[in-house]
């Protein structure tokens, strides 16, 4: 089990109803973690439209997660 802190922004923050949470999870990658959270909280954004950052840096969807990591899911940015 990884003990993670998770921070949400924008649409994800609103759909979660809060900006931060702590979580103990077996998810070993950002992709697996997002799938778990999406199922639990009903996030409308598909996983392939959400990027991840681990400890303040962009990270691949299959990067390894370790206990103590701070994970941020990044919805599509404002663009244009």
């Amino acid at each position: 089990m990884n003990e993670l802190t998770i921070e949400y922004f924008a649409l994800l923050r609103e759909q979660r109803g809060q900006a931060n949470e702590c979580l103990a999870t077996t998810a070993a990658t950002p992709a697996a973690l997002y799938a778990e959270l999406q199922a639990r909280h009903g996030f409308t954004l598909p996983g392939d439209r959400v990027r991840a950052a681990i400890n303040g840096a962009f990270a691949a969807a299959d990067a390894p997660l370790r206990s103590g990591d701070h994970v941020v899911f990044i919805p599509p940015v404002a663009g244009g």
């Binding site: 940015v77 404002a78 244009g80």
Partner: protein, 142 residues
């Protein structure tokens, strides 16, 4: 330097570090809150940022532009919070010996910033509805 600011952007403070006797050209870009987007009347905007990553990625973009275009200076700032119509949302200023490099670099910085920075925009419409831009999941690609 690339700053994310919860308070209004002040032009004199933004441009001050760009003063340079070697510079012949300053090009600036300002993004303003406009009263419409894709046919809808907009009343105000909210910007939200993941600040540490936005500033770090913003600094990377400025460093890329300095190296690629031979700039003398590059400064940018992006506002977060609730903005009214006409307010300054983003500012980019670059200096170079000659104007061609300054134009190209300013455009590069704002294009990359819009594409890469973790900053989100929520539009408040005259109709009373709101939308996070590019986060729609039903109406096609963002």
């Amino acid at each position: 330097m690339f700053r994310i600011s919860p308070t209004p952007l002040e032009l004199p403070a933004l441009r001050a570090p760009l003063a340079d006797a070697r510079a012949g050209a300053l090009v600036t870009f300002e993004g303003w809150v406009r009263d419409h987007n894709e046919g809808q009347a907009v009343q105000s905007l909210e910007y939200e940022a993941y600040v540490p990553l936005a500033e770090a990625e913003g600094e990377r973009i400025l460093a890329e532009a300095r190296a690629r275009f031979g700039l003398l200076g590059a400064v940018a700032a992006h506002r977060v919070g609730h903005l009214a119509l006409g307010e300054l949302a983003v500012w980019v200023g670059v200096t170079a010996a000659h104007r061609a490099a300054a134009f190209d670099a300013c455009r590069y910085i704002i294009d990359e910033a819009k594409a890469r920075l973790p900053i989100w925009k929520k539009e408040h419409y005259a109709s009373g509805t709101t939308a996070w831009i590019n986060c729609a999941t039903r109406s096609g690609p963002g």
